[in-house]
Amino acid sequence: MWIEKITLYGFGGITNEEIEFGSDELNLIVESNEYGKSTLAEGIWATLFDFPEHGSKAAIQEREHFKPWEEKAPYKAVLELRVDDRPLRITRNFETKEVEVFDRSTNQDVTAEFTSGGKDHTDGDTVGFKITGMSRDLFRNTCLLGQRHLDAHHVGGSSDIAPVFQGMADTASPVSTAGGAIESLNDALQNYTFAGASSKKMSVEDAIKELEASKTELHQKLTQMDIEFRKTSELLEELNSLDEDVEENEPVEVDPTLASEFDAYRLELKELERKLDSASQRYEQKLKLEEDLRAIDMAAPISASAAHALKDLWTRKQSRQTDADRLAEDITPQQEEYERLEQEIRERYKNLESLTVDEANSISALAISLYKLQQDLNDLQRQHKEQTGMHLQKLMVSSKQAGAALDVLKSLTKVEIEEAKNYSSLLIMFYEQVQEEQKRIQEVKFSIDDIEERRRHNRNANTGKMLGCFVAAIVCVVFLIFSQGVKEIPQIAVIATVCVFLLAFLAGLVFAGMILNFKYYLKDDAASASEEEQKHKKALAAVKTKIANLESKLTALAVKTGTPNREDLIRFINEASTHEDVLSEQENRDQSLGNEEARMRKIQRDLAYFFDKAGRDSSVIDSQRAMDLSQDIQQYHKEREALEAQFNDIRTTRKQLDFLLAEIEDSARELEILLERSGVEVVNQDEIENKINELLQSDVDRQAVQNEIAKIDYDLAGYQDAREAITNMEFERDVIKDKIRNLIHEYPDLQHLPEPDESAPKKAVLPWGATPEPVATTKKAKVDNGAKKEELLVQIRTAMNYRDEHYLETVEDLANIDHELTCAKRAKLALTMARDVISKLSSETYEDWSQELNKESERLISQLNMDIESMAFDHSLRMVFKLKGHDREFSSHDVAKLSTGTREQIHWLARIILSSFLSKRQSLPIVLDEPFSEADDARFLSMMRFLINSIAPHNQIIILSCHHQRHQWLASQLSATEQGKLSFRTRRGALSMN
């Protein structure tokens, strides 16, 4: 994609202006500040994509921000571009949010092609997306590179560019990364906010536990109230029965069928009540045990899962300890001999056991380097002494001259000195131009003289020709006069003579005319030469005027310094430069000597580390001592190896022992972590066993209660839902009671029947219809039940008052808790899912991006002549790079330690790699706003050359800058071909929309 022209009819501070861009050139817009360069860059993306309608507040306010300052100007822009060689024009009205895409090759409106379809979650206007192949945010953050992108400190004060890349890969924005998102989700999991105005916060896990505990508590409360309610029913029944007074000892007879039915109900009722009692009792026991279990859990210093883990770890540790003790006993005799010999070696090579063979090799290598460096340094010092002597004299002379010059120049500012230098250079150039112009004027004069000479020559030739013609005409006239008297002359000869006469006469006249107008000959050449002469004369005059100006400026500066004339001023400036050069040369030499010394000190410092480690004196280090140390270490290891070989058997056993000890240590560490996580502090290691036993006691208790619950569950296994079964049995009991009551109500004598015998077989109804003997019984005595009634009433009223007060409220609270619990569970599931999916997808994205970025990096660096040798991105998009002249690799953390220029260069390259990767599918323009401001001249030139030669052929480059001189200087440093690729662009007025 190439941008050909952008016209801003009204956009921020720009009204009715347009700017054209070249395709495979480096488009430079070099203008002063406040020119509107950044507005122009913003105009490009805004016309492509329009302003965001969704997203952050700041993003939505952008439309308002870029409204035209001029009130009447339409808020509109037109972008002419070429996409895959197809010329398009996008006209966007930011006010009405209308867009039109026009194919300039076919003169057709193709808006529909770019605004319909697309992903189902994007809105209708997908012009930018379809043209660039990337979203608005991604385009803005990759194709528009401002100085802020290259500034090491633009991301939260960190110089690490990895978060920027991660942000781009995650959200197309450098400020939001998946890591941050995961942190937020974890934070939400850890700080659950309850509904309503509650400020209570805890982890979702704890919230669920708390809510479940509250729910269970409320359930229990309700169950308890329900049990009380059922008891109330029984009490009411009892109360009812007390109200029925009966006569004592009155004999009655009862129908045996009725009596049998009555007994059957009573037996059934007894059986049911027995079952009900048993089930209720077990169920209540279960509830109690569950409560105990919760109490154990609440009181337990650690959770059940932690207790299990603790138990496993503790058992494992104890078992390993037993094994280790046994092995240690087995190897003791040999071990003692081994230890004695080992001790001998240790004493002989004191302190060397901490140094490895690799370290010995390193010491040896350092010793050699130190030796060589010492030699080099000696040579350098010697040379330096000689050179210094030689240069000293030159320096003295220079210094003498320069001293005066420097005194003179003290009165000028740096800028003025720089200006004076420039003026001087320009004067020399202009003098050369004067000479050149004068030379050209001379050449033109020669040319004019030449023309005059040729004219003269031409006139003489014409005079000869004219005379010849006239002579011929006179001869003809004479011939005709003399031929009057001669008859023999043929007529034809006379006619021919007349013709010759006429021709010669006419030709003579023509030549005469040419002689008179000789200036027509070479008239154009003469005019051209004259014009050329005038032009050069004008140029000469202009140069002379410039010279006069510069001379007057230089004279003014000379006057300021008190120098008699400008020539002296220039001389002083040059002398001062020479002095600086000499000093600089000497300084460079000192510096290289210093560098060598620094290297030597570094090696000595490195060696000092090993000397200190070996417990040897590190105050004086030379190569010989270092070599000795290296050899001692190697000897120590040889002897150790020999010892190990000799005691190979115990080594295996020791390995096993070490393994066991390591396992014991790991277990102990895990135990510590577990205890710490569980909030248990163990100060004294000796107490740990007691402490753990104490902690595990709750687990033992828990296990005991769980066993009890399991037993009850086994007892209640016949019921699918014990609570429901109890309710059903109660219902059945009530039904039977009702039936008994109805029977008594209908046949009051039944109530005086004795309790049925559970062991006696049921009496069969006789099939032949014989009437069985009536059952004789007596009525019970009338008793005074006042006290009992009173007691029942108190119980009923107490229970019901309590129920009135708490039941409804508990049900309502339970509904709330239920809702909150559902929300908390859903939140936990959803937050965990979001976190896990983002984490997984983010890792995949980073991996994909790192592969693509590394490919681009390799390609681009091969074309770039900069300080960076290689740059790669790992699977977390962290950058690793190598600089030329450095052995080691640098990570993005190290960037802060580098110079500003190098830092800018690294960040710039990283961004270019990113832009290049993201615009792979569609070659996109890259707009650089004030790039390389921190780079030195060499780097600046190198990077610009890279842009011209490597990037510009693929991606259109637009550079916005306010450094005019720097880019002029750049132009002077480039080859003719490269210069041809530089194109300075500027805004110009456009036809008004109005």
Binding site: F229, A815, L841
Partner: protein
């Protein structure tokens, strides 16, 4: 000469029934006010009966919730009925307020609690068999009914066999607490069915009128001649989102002409002082003013009376980050007597443009796919959800949608706000 029987019918008052349900969550004081509202609606109905000088008040069940009714409330009911003096009140206990020994219907229980007994004008059916009461002052009226003696649902078709009537009276009225097979209301769930019956079965019983209770929507039942043979008056006051808008008691007049032809006229009367209303407001694309206007429009459209009604505004749809629908709705709180706000809105993240190479895009696509799969799974098993522990089911589409927005919140705003709506 024709004669008439004028009555007031009401049922399913569900006094002291729990009010909290899901997002419908009241504070303690609000709940107390709601319990009072229900009692006042009953008292109001009694006042109407008195003013209209009806011949009887018919209550076919659902007067209170057996498990949660409080003595004080029951006492108020007894007093309100006693106030009617000579107007008899016929009550058939339903499965939610069964006639048991521990019920306020039972004299033993009332006596044990030290409360007054039922007034002489109250006639509470206490037998599971159909029994008939004669009207105390009009011997041409007989009221037949039965009582639920437990909270168990009755699966028998009680109207499937002949129900005794008093053939010596002009008006045979039936009170029946049961489920009409063809009931069209939204509360006609299968698990609510008790004592089922059909229109034909009821018509076959040839009662002049049947006062029906149990279901909560006003529903008239007509025979093949399009004559009203019975009706559910529905619940007296709304208590949840299934019982929105005006709820009524029913003033009825049964007329029997000289030919013995019976006809019934019914007039619903709203006696509750307030209504429970539900106003869904789609905030998509609206700014603060737009949301306010939408709420105001909805209030007018649904004929909500902000100064008396209980209004539940459900904010739905999507909004831009600069619009906070909940805060906007909150500002309207002073304009309402009782306002509940349920914020179901989502930020309009899906309307944004995402680059396919980013994690954000992949996340969005992945979650939408998971949501689609969950919805397909839900279609196979409508009750499945991780939260109700249906085995083999991964996660509900709603939970995945929550996850989607939690994730996008975190990616875009680096901040996550917990959601408290189901």
């Amino acid at each position: 000469m024709s004669s008439t029987f004028k009555f007031l019918q009401l049922s399913d008052v569900h006094l002291d029934s729990p009010q909290n349900r899901g997002v419908l969550s009241y504070s303690s004081a609000q709940r107390a006010a709601r319990y009072t509202d229900l009692v006042e609606s009953l008292v109001g109905a009694m006042r109407v009966a008195s003013d209209q000088k009806v011949d009887a008040v018919l209550i076919p069940g659902g007067l209170w919730d057996h498990r949660s009714i409080r003595g004080e409330t029951a006492g108020t009911v007894l007093e309100a009925i006693a106030e009617l003096n000579d107007i008899p009140v016929f009550i058939t206990p339903g499965e939610g307020d069964p006639y048991t020994i521990d019920s306020y219907y039972h004299p033993t229980f009332l006596a044990a609690r030290g409360m007054r007994s039922w007034p002489k004008n109250a006639f509470v059916f206490n037998s599971p068999e159909f029994t008939t009461f004669k009207h105390p002052s009009r011997d041409d009226i007989a009221i037949t009914g039965y009582a639920h003696l437990s909270s168990r649902k009755i699966s028998d078709r009680l109207l499937g066999s002949y129900v005794n009537r008093d053939d010596n009276v002009t008006f045979n009225i039936l009170l029946f607490h049961g489920s009409l097979d063809s009931y069209p209301g939204i509360d006609g769930h299968a698990d609510r069915i008790t004592a089922p019956f059909s229109v034909e079965e009821l018509a076959a019983q040839r009662f002049n009128y049947t006062a029906l209770g149990h279901f909560h929507e006003y529903t008239e039942l007509c025979d093949e001649n399009d004559q009203v043979i019975g009706a559910y008056s529905g619940c007296l006051s709304g208590r949840n989102f299934d019982e929105l808008g005006p709820r009524v008691a029913m003033l009825g007049t049964v007329t029997v002409d000289d030919n013995g032809q019976s006809s019934t006229l019914l007039e619903p009367i709203e006696v509750a002082s307030n209504r429970l209303t539900y106003l869904p407001v789609d905030v998509s694309g609206l700014d603060a003013e737009g949301i306010k206007a939408e709420i105001e429009y909805g209030v007018q459209e649904l004929e909500i009376r902000p100064d008396v009604d209980i209004v539940c505004i459900s904010l739905e749809g999507t909004h831009t980050p600069d619009v906070e629908p909940y805060s906007i709705a909150q500002k309207l709180r002073p304009d309402f007597y009782h306002l509940l706000i349920v914020d179901r809105t989502r930020p309009d993240y899906l309307a944004e443009e995402y680059d396919p190479r980013t994690t954000e895009y992949k996340y969005l696509e992945s979650m939408l796919e998971k949501q689609r799969q969950a919805e397909a799974k839900r279609a196979e098993n409508p009750n499945a959800d991780t939260l109700n522990n249906v085995p083999g089911f991964l996660m509900s589409a709603k939970t995945i949608e929550d996850a989607l927005y939690y994730g996008l919140d975190a990616l875009k705003r680096q901040k996550v706000t917990h959601r408290h709506v189901d």
